[in-house]
């Protein structure tokens, strides 16, 4: 079972000439967006709703002749803001479903390696909880393939601050997890 199995229907057919472009964006960015939102602690249904809303907003944005520059960061920003609006308990749920995920990963490994992997991910989960919200979001967006400039656009912070945040967050995790 992979994230591919998460269905998401999106009515992009009315985009007309921009249909192909929007479909390409959808194929390219749906998974990273879903992953980002899930890692923020949203439920699967919530994340899919937010992704769908984000792409519908993109449809309206393109149809109204909006700027087509930095569409990726634009989509992440829309999804991020919607997620923040929806999610009141931002801290509470992060990392909660990790247990079953660790087990799922462990199934594929030998018993000894499974134990090590479990322990490593558990330590990492604990370390991630110690990061500040912005640090965590910076790392998640970076893991989604965004550049520092794009992360800055999503989170509305300067690019230099993004570099500092990423550096600090990585150092914290490396020190705590010793991976």
């Amino acid at each position: 079972m992979t994230e591919d199995s998460l269905p998401l229907a999106l009515p992009l057919s009315r985009l007309g000439a921009k249909n192909r472009e929007a479909n390409t964006l959808y194929e390219e960015l749906r998974k990273p967006l879903l992953r980002y939102l899930l890692c923020l602690g949203m439920s699967s249904d919530q994340a899919q709703d937010v992704v769908q809303d984000a792409f519908l907003s993109l449809q309206r944005h393109l149809a109204s002749g909006g700027s087509q520059e930095n569409i990726r960061s634009w989509l992440f920003r829309v999804a991020h803001n919607r997620a923040r609006n929806q999610q009141n308990s931002y801290e509470r749920r992060f990392g909660a479903p990790l247990g079953s995920a660790i087990d799922a990963i462990a199934d594929r490994e030998s018993p000894e390696r499974a134990v090590l992997e479990k322990e490593k991910l558990r330590r990492l989960g604990e370390a991630i909880k110690t990061l500040t919200q912005t640090e965590r979001e910076c790392l998640l967006l970076r893991a989604g393939g965004l550049r520092y400039r794009e992360i800055g656009e999503v989170l509305a912070i300067p690019t230099s601050s993004v570099g500092d945040m990423v550096e600090r967050a990585i150092r914290k995790l490396a020190e705590k997890c010793n991976v």
């Binding site: 079972m1 992979t2 994230e3 199995s5 998460l6 879903l34 992953r35 899930l38 890692c39 439920s43 699967s44 994340a47 990392g95 479903p97 990790l98 247990g99 079953s100 995920a101 660790i102 799922a104 990963i105 490593k120 991910l121 990492l124 989960g125 991630i128 790392l139 998640l140 970076r142 893991a143 550049r147 520092y148 570099g163 500092d164 990423v166 550096e167 990585i170 150092r171 995790l173 490396a174 997890c177 991976v179």
Partner: protein, 213 residues
């Protein structure tokens, strides 16, 4: 602490300007501490990616599991509905059963004395071997079946077939009182099998006396 250390993550992410990037690459090749730290950062980044994948996978599994339970719940609900319908069956809407064509045998002189077919009645003199329980069940089933009622509305009633059977053929010799005939009400199912057989004793002598002035 090395002065370049704060830019290692940006260097790994190729976020530095080109000249700075080349400069830091040279430094890392010479500084064991920065090289070690850069390797640790890289491992941490990979572990973080794996963690994100694990969270995504967990949600996908959670979703699949909830879908599976929803399917199980739907199956249980369907079974409950099926059980309810089985316990409280609706009358089946069937095509009208074809009326069996039974050729009436030639009526004998004895049969001519047999009165017309009457509805069953419980009388104290009725022989005990007549299974009225099953008979009444058949009758009640027929009465409760709308299709049968509907058939009766549009089709003529089934022709009564009267068959003469000597009493000695049914009972031991002498068991039946003299002058007693049996009226046989015989229903044929649509598939040709016997559906119901009803024997009604008829005292022909009394009828004859009652008929005489």
């Amino acid at each position: 602490m090395c002065e370049w250390e704060s830019r290692l993550a940006a260097w790994l992410d190729r976020e530095l300007a080109q000249d700075e990037d080349i400069e830091l690459e040279l430094h890392v090749s010479r500084c064991a501490q920065c090289r070690s730290r850069a390797e640790a950062y890289e491992r941490t980044s990979r572990a973080f990616d794996a963690y994100c994948d694990a969270v995504t996978l967990a949600f996908a599994r959670q979703k699949a599991s909830s879908s599976k339970w929803a399917a199980v719940a739907a199956a249980v609900a369907a079974a409950a509905v099926w059980a309810f319908l089985t316990a409280h069956p609706r009358a089946p809407i069937t095509k009208p059963a074809p009326v069996p064509h039974v050729t009436a045998p030639r009526r004998s002189a004895l049969a001519r004395e047999v009165p017309p077919l009457e509805p069953p009645r419980s009388s104290p003199g009725e022989p005990s071997f007549i299974n009225r329980g099953s008979l009444s069940r058949v009758q009640s089933q027929n009465a409760a079946t709308p299709a049968r009622i509907q058939r009766g509305r549009f089709l003529p009633p089934e022709p009564a077939v009267e068959i003469d059977i000597p009493a000695d053929a049914l009972l031991p010799p002498g068991a039946a009182p003299a002058g007693t005939n049996f009226l046989v009400d015989f229903s044929v199912a649509p598939d040709g099998s016997a559906q119901a057989i009803r024997l009604t004793p008829q005292l022909t002598g009394l009828d004859r006396r009652a008929a005489q002035p």
